[in-house]
Amino acid sequence: MSHATSTRDEVIESLNEVSVVFKTRRRSVEALGKTSLELRPRQIINIVGESGSGKTTLGRVVALLQKPTSGKVLYKGVDPWMEPPKRFMEIKKKIQYVYQDPYAALNPVKTVYETLASVVKMYEKGLSRNQVKERVIELLELANITPPEYFLNKYPHHLSGGMRQRLCIVRAIIPNPEVLVADEPISMVDVSMKASILNLLRSLRSQMGMNILYITHELSSVKYISDPQDKLLVMYKGHVVEEGLASEILAKPIHPYSKILLSIAPSLSRRGDDEKLRKILLLSTRSRIQGKGCVFADRCPFAIEKCFTEPPPIVQINHRRVLCHRASELVGEDVPVG
């Protein structure tokens, strides 16, 4: 397989102050608040958040599946949404998307061979039948679906969840995309198979030079998949609350939400009866009335009056950006319990 065409520092795609607002007859919902992002080759950008955080919307905007209601998306300096349909499609093919549910992303009446072959034939014209088959087998081996020959005429329901997801991933790389958006690729997969999918994504980054936009709600998987230079965005209710290097945020989170997420992330070294853990979790269940201020105020253990009335600023601390009134004070602070 050939490698992605961009050089190391060139920005492949950028999002400038994009936001997405869904309007229904009665009200409008801001699914994604003003967000900016730059995607570079050989990089993993992690997006962590719960459902409703806007992470999926952000992923779909990057993958050109969702048009932003404001702001601009640029692919190598060009706004795809302003281009004629044919040119738009050419750009779209370079940004592929992996769905959370691998079963829904596959046609249940097509065999593994048919699923991959149809895409191979579209991108590599003029191959003989045998050559197509060889390509498909190559892809299956990359996906660790072995023995490949055995699986050629099998249907999606014959594969385990982990295999299905890996199949979806190798299908997505046939167009040789520069960006791969993976939306919660492991959340519908059994525990014992999650690592294999993350390994595949890592190798796509290192061996094929792609940019991987990895969206998840499991912070521990961010640690697993990331290299020191990879970024992390923590999102809550449509806003990026903390942004910086993944390794740094995991070591020393500043935003209260990041702190909570990290303290409840699973760790085998946790004792059997962890009171502190319990107390942190029970803190988050309090709910006060939400005012005009910070979206996280009602669940925040550090909230002060200002947090409920004024929206927080973006505070820059070294290479970190934190959306919080008390950002500078909270560096190094633990979540208070008791």
Binding site: D190, Y224, L250, I260, L268, D273, L277, S287
Partner: protein, 322 residues
């Protein structure tokens, strides 16, 4: 915390699908100790949901119990007539089934749900007493008592699940069975509900059996865990022992595959191969895990390993001697 409140003995149950019979519960024996929070961990397709279904007879009745006993305080639940079992389920034993938040009646307020549940099992309570009890249990689940006046659609997923648990707890059971009660919710809500359950277990001594595929959710919260694979229990022990020093090769492989913050990426390994078919006649001979086991010996392919007791732990594996 030591005598068994629930004793499952050699339970075997099949359920019917188009392809044939699925042996989801295969000669399962398990003891649930009074006052503990016991986790039953099984991945998808392991058959763990059928285990609770066979005991409580709640849900689609497409299963057949082949053999075994389920003793609750010396009464075999399997032999009880439906009416009596239902009475027990409303008073001494509670059951929170999967996606239970969807079982709330959209036309009833939370208050009405409590009236209905409590009055059918405790007919002597009057409305005021029922309301007090409802408030008591709602607060126990960290819910504001004014949710009593709300309809289910006005509550978030997490709140609905908490209401369901409060409803079950309000009948004051001494044993609560839970089947994946939090899987459809977001992470912090999931973990906080489990923490809530642990809090209740610690304060009131209510025994809980929590069936899930997410072993991480129980870290730091359960006392003991039982590992379910291919319709069988392969290992039981305290959660600390099992996680730090797993005995069964499947348990070990499962823990190795967990992605946790204290592991480096080289330490995480997926389990090769596929979960076994539970179709009667298609199961692997001998030990159900042998096709994927890195320590497989000849005897594993022929003879099913018996459950051995090693101190306070149990394991079904030929690597060990009783």
């Amino acid at each position: 915390m030591s005598e068994p409140i629930l004793l499952i003995e050699n339970l075997t149950a099949d359920y019917l699908v188009r392809e044939g019979l699925i042996r989801a519960v295969d000669n399962v024996s398990l003891e649930v100790r009074q006052g503990e929070l016991l986790g039953i961990i099984g991945e998808s397709g392991s058959g763990k949901t059928t285990l609770l279904q066979a005991i409580t007879r709640v849900g689609p009745l497409n299963f057949i119990v082949r053999s075994g006993r389920v003793l609750y305080r010396n009464v075999d639940l399997l032999k009880l007539p439906d009416v009596e079992l239902r009475r027990l389920l409303g008073t001494r034993i509670g059951f929170v089934f999967q996606a239970a938040q969807n079982s709330l009646n959209p036309f009833y307020r939370v208050r009405d749900h409590f009236y209905e549940t409590l009055s059918s099992h405790y007919p002597d309570l009057d409305k005021v007493e029922m309301e007090n009890r409802a408030i008591q249990y709602l607060e126990l689940m960290h819910l504001n008592p004014n949710v009593l006046n709300l309809y289910p659609h006005q509550l978030s997923g997490g709140m609905k699940q908490r209401v369901v648990i409060a409803l079950v707890l309000s009948t004051q059971p001494e044993l609560v069975l839970l089947d994946e009660p939090v899987s459809a919710l977001d992470l912090i809500t999931q973990r906080s509900i489990v923490a809530n359950l642990k809090e209740i277990n610690t304060k009131y001594g209510t025994t809980m059996v929590y069936v899930t595929h997410d072993v991480e959710s129980l870290i730091g919260l359960a006392h003991r865990i039982a590992i379910y694979y291919g319709g069988k229990i392969v290992e039981v022990g305290s959660i600390e022992q099992v996680l730090k020093d797993p005995l069964h090769p499947y348990t070990k492989a499962l823990i190795d595959s967990l992605i946790t913050t204290d592991k480096s990426s080289e330490e995480v390994k997926s389990i090769p191969g596929n979960p076994p078919s539970l179709l009667v006649g298609h199961k692997p001979q001998g030990c159900v895990f042998h096709p994927r086991c890195p320590y497989v010996k000849d005897i594993c392919k022929r003879v099913e390993p018996p459950m051995l007791k090693l101190g306070d732990r149990h394991v079904a594996c030929h690597l060990y001697k009783g």
